[in-house]
C-alpha cells in the first residue's frame, strides 16, 4: 500500500477557468507512472494536486491508503523534483540535500551519512562542497534528485525534470532515472510532454488532453490501441497518419482511393478517420499508387511524404537511398494495421 496513489473524480478550477475535469487515477506501489500530454493539458496541475501544492476543487486524493485531500505538502511523505530544480542557491550541495532531514531535526551524524549515500547514488558525492551555481545543468538535476531521495519518501514526483537538459544528456539521464527508481523501489509519478520519454520510462501512463484523461494504460496499450484520434496522433515519431474517409459496406473511400476493409463491415455507413503509422506502410510491389513529394534521409531510415490523391501520407521506410521527388510508388497498407476512429467524436471504433 505504501506509495499507492488514488485520485477519484478530481476537478480543479482557478477562478472561472476550468483546468481539470473528472480525473480518475490509480497508481500502484513501485510503479513508474507518467502523466503525458501537450502543454496546458492539466498534467502538471494534477501532479501539484498530488503534491499538495494545489487543492482539488472536487474529488479525493488518497496516498498510501490514507485520505490526503486536505493535507499540507509537508505531511504527505512525498518528494518532488521541479523542472527548474528549485535548488537553494545560497547553500552548498551538501546543505541542499540535507535540508529535508534538518527540517525534521534528524541528528547530525545521521544526516551526514544519509546525504553522502544519496549523493553517491547519483554520483555527485565529489561535489558536496560546491554551490548550485557552480554546477552544470546535469549536476544540478542530480542534486535535486539526491535531495528528493535522501528522505526515502513513499512517493516521488517529477515535473519535466529533463526538459532543461540538452538532447543527448536527456536520453542518458532518462536511463539513469529508470534504474534509480527501480533500485529504490519507490513509486514515481512523472510529468512530461515528450511522448518518447514517457514511452521509454513508464510502466503505465495516463494521457491528458484539455484537462481530462483520455486514456490510461501501458506504453504498448496506448501505442497499439490508441483510444482516440488525438492520442493516436500524439504518440509516435513521426505521428500516425490520420486520413478522413467514408466507410460504407466494408469499403473505405479515402480521397480518390478505395480500400477494401471487410473487417469493418459491421460498422455500417459512417464518416470515419483512418489511422496508419508511418512505419507500417510498405513500399513495394503492391498497394495504392502515390507520388513522392518530399524525402528526408535520416541515416538508417527515410521519411517520405506521399501524395495520395490529394491527401498526405507519411511513410517511414528502412533504407538509406534517397527516393527522388515526383517518383511514383505503391504504398502497401495492411488492413490489419489500420485503426478506425469515428470522425465526429474521435473515439476508436474497432
Amino acid at each position: 500500500m505504501k506509495g499507492a496513489v488514488e485520485l477519484k473524480g478530481v476537478g480543479k478550477s482557478f477562478g472561472e477557468t476550468r483546468v481539470l475535469e473528472d480525473v480518475d487515477l490509480e497508481i500502484r506501489p513501485g510503479e513508474f507512472f507518467s502523466l503525458l500530454g501537450p502543454s496546458g493539458s492539466g498534467k502538471t496541475t494534477t501532479l501539484r494536486i498530488i503534491a499538495g501544492l494545489e487543492t482539488a476543487t472536487e474529488g479525493t486524493v488518497t496516498l498510501s491508503g490514507k485520505d490526503a485531500t486536505l493535507l499540507p505538502p509537508g505531511d504527505r511523505d512525498v518528494a518532488m523534483v521541479f523542472q527548474s530544480y528549485a535548488l537553494y542557491p545560497h547553500m552548498t550541495v551538501f546543505d541542499n540535500i540535507a535540508f529535508p532531514l534538518r527540517m525534521i531535526r534528524t541528528p547530525a551524524a545521521e544526516i551526514a551519512d544519509a546525504v553522502r549515500a544519496a549523493a553517491a547514488r547519483v554520483r555527485i558525492d565529489h561535489l558536496l562542497e560546491r554551490r548550485p551555481g557552480q554546477l552544470s545543468g546535469g549536476q544540478q538535476q542530480r542534486c535535486a534528485l539526491a535531495r528528493a531521495i535522501v528522505r526515502k519518501p513513499a512517493l516521488f514526483l517529477l515535473d519535466e525534470p529533463l526538459s532543461n537538459l540538452d538532447a543527448k544528456l536527456r536520453v542518458e539521464t532518462r536511463v539513469e532515472l529508470k534504474r534509480l527508481q527501480r533500485s529504490l523501489d519507490v513509486t514515481a509519478v512523472y510529468v512530461t510532454h515528450d511522448q518518447e520519454e514517457a514511452m521509454s520510462l513508464s510502466d503505465r501512463m495516463a494521457i491528458f488532453m484539455d484537462g481530462r484523461i483520455v486514456q490510461t494504460g501501458s506504453p504498448e496499450d496506448v501505442f497499439s490501441r490508441p483510444a482516440t484520434v488525438q492520442v493516436a496522433a500524439f504518440l509516435g515519431n513521426p505521428p500516425m497518419n490520420v486520413l478522413p474517409a467514408h466507410l460504407s459496406a466494408g469499403k473505405a473511400v479515402v480521397g480518390s482511393t478505395t480500400l477494401d476493409l471487410p473487417r469493418f463491415g459491421a460498422l455500417g455507413e459512417r464518416e470515419v478517420v483512418l489511422g496508419i503509422r508511418p512505419s507500417e506502410v510498405t513500399l513495394g510491389a503492391a498497394g495504392v499508387p502515390a507520388t513522392v513529394t518530399l524525402c528526408e534521409v535520416l541515416g538508417d531510415e527515410v521519411i517520405l511524404d506521399l501524395d495520395l490523391g490529394g491527401l498526405l501520407l507519411r511513410v517511414k521506410s528502412p533504407g538509406r537511398k534517397r527516393i527522388p521527388e515526383g517518383e511514383r510508388v505503391l504504398a502497401g497498407i495492411d488492413p490489419e494495421r489500420l485503426h478506425v476512429f469515428d470522425r465526429a467524436s474521435g473515439a476508436r471504433l474497432d
Partner: protein, 295 residues
C-alpha cells in the same frame, strides 16, 4: 464540503501566517499616520493659538472659509502648481535627454553615475544651504560671479521675488534631475537591442526611432518617475526653507511652507492644519490622476 469551504479550510494556516507578518507594520502605520490625520482634520476645525494654550475654540469651517479669501494662500497654491510642474518637466526633459546622450558613451557612464549620486544623497536642507551660500550670494557666490563675468551683472538671486522663485525651482531641479537620469538610464538600457536593429534595417531616422519605438516602450517608466517626482515636489520643504525661508516675504511659499509658517511662526495651528489638509487633498488628487493614467 463545498469546494469553497474546502479551499478556505486548506488556506487557513497560510492566511493566519500572513496576517501575523503584516500586523505590526499595519499597526505602526495606523498609529503614526491614520490617527494623526484624523486629529489633523479635527484641528483644522479649531482656532488654536500656540501663544495662548488652553484657549482652543471650535470654529467649524471658519478656517477654510478664511483661506478661500486669503490671497496669500492662493499665491502659495499657484506657486505650488508652478513649482511642481516646472521642476518635474525640467527634470524629465533634462534627465531623459542626458540618459539618451550618456547611453551612447558607455565608457563614461561610471563617472556620471558617481556624479549623479552626489546631489541625491545630499540632505535637501544642505542643498538649499549650499546654493544659498556658495552659489547665489551676491558678491561671492559662484553663480553671481559667473553672471558678472558674462556681463550680466550681479543680482539678488534670492532677494528679488522673481529671481527667488527661479532659484528655488533651480535648486530642486538640480538636486533631483540625477534621479530621473539614473532611472531613465536603467529603463533605456533594459530595452531589447534587436528592436533598434530592425528599425535601422528599415532605415528609420534617429528621431523617428526615438518617437515610435523608444518613447512608447519607456512610457510606463516615465509615468512612474513622474509620480515619484511630483509627490516629492509637492511636499518639498527643507531646500526652500534653507534657501529663502519662503521669502522674500511670502513669494516662494508653497502650500507646505505656508502651512508651516502659519503654524509655527504665526502660531495659528488650526489655520495651518487647514492648509495642510488642502495640501493633502491636492496630493491625493494628483496621485490618483497619475495612477489612473498609469493603467
Amino acid at each position: 464540503m463545498s469546494p469553497q469551504q474546502r479551499l478556505t479550510l486548506v488556506e487557513k494556516p497560510e492566511r493566519r501566517f500572513a496576517l501575523t507578518l503584516v500586523a505590526p507594520g499595519v499597526l505602526v502605520l495606523a498609529v503614526t499616520t491614520t490617527f494623526p490625520l484624523v486629529f489633523l482634520l479635527w484641528q483644522s476645525l479649531q482656532n488654536i493659538n500656540l501663544a495662548m494654550p488652553g484657549m482652543e475654540r471650535f470654529v467649524g469651517a471658519d478656517n477654510y472659509v478664511r483661506m478661500w479669501g486669503d490671497a496669500r494662500f492662493w499665491a502659495a497654491f499657484a506657486f505650488t502648481i508652478i513649482y511642481s510642474g516646472v521642476t518635474v518637466s525640467l527634470q524629465l526633459v533634462i534627465g531623459l535627454g542626458m540618459a539618451l546622450v550618456i547611453l551612447q558613451i558607455p565608457r563614461a557612464q561610471w563617472a556620471f553615475r558617481m556624479a549623479a549620486i552626489l546631489p541625491i544623497v545630499l540632505a535637501p536642507v544642505v542643498a538649499g544651504l549650499f546654493w544659498r551660500s556658495l552659489m547665489l550670494t551676491p558678491d561671492f557666490g559662484i553663480v553671481d560671479f559667473a553672471s558678472r563675468s558674462l556681463g550680466l551683472g550681479s543680482h539678488n538671486w534670492l532677494g528679488d521675488p522673481t529671481l527667488a522663485r527661479v532659484s528655488v525651482i533651480a535648486i530642486h531641479t538640480w538636486q533631483w534631475t540625477p534621479f530621473v537620469f539614473l532611472y531613465m538610464l536603467a529603463a533605456l538600457a533594459a530595452l531589447p537591442a534587436d528592436l533598434y536593429e530592425a528599425a535601422r534595417i528599415d532605415r528609420a531616422s534617429a528621431w523617428r526611432r526615438f518617437v515610435h519605438i523608444t518613447l512608447p516602450l519607456i512610457r510606463p517608466a516615465i509615468v512612474v518617475v513622474v509620480i515619484l517626482r511630483i509627490t516629492v515636489a509637492l511636499s518639498a520643504f527643507a531646500a526652500i526653507y534653507a534657501a529663502t525661508g519662503g521669502g522674500p516675504g511670502t513669494v516662494t511659499e508653497i502650500i507646505n511652507l505656508y502651512a508651516y509658517r502659519v503654524s509655527f511662526v504665526e502660531l495659528s495651528l488650526g489655520y495651518g492644519a487647514a492648509a495642510a489638509v488642502v495640501l493633502l487633498v491636492l496630493t491625493m488628487l494628483v496621485a490618483g490622476l497619475l495612477f489612473r493614467i498609469r493603467r
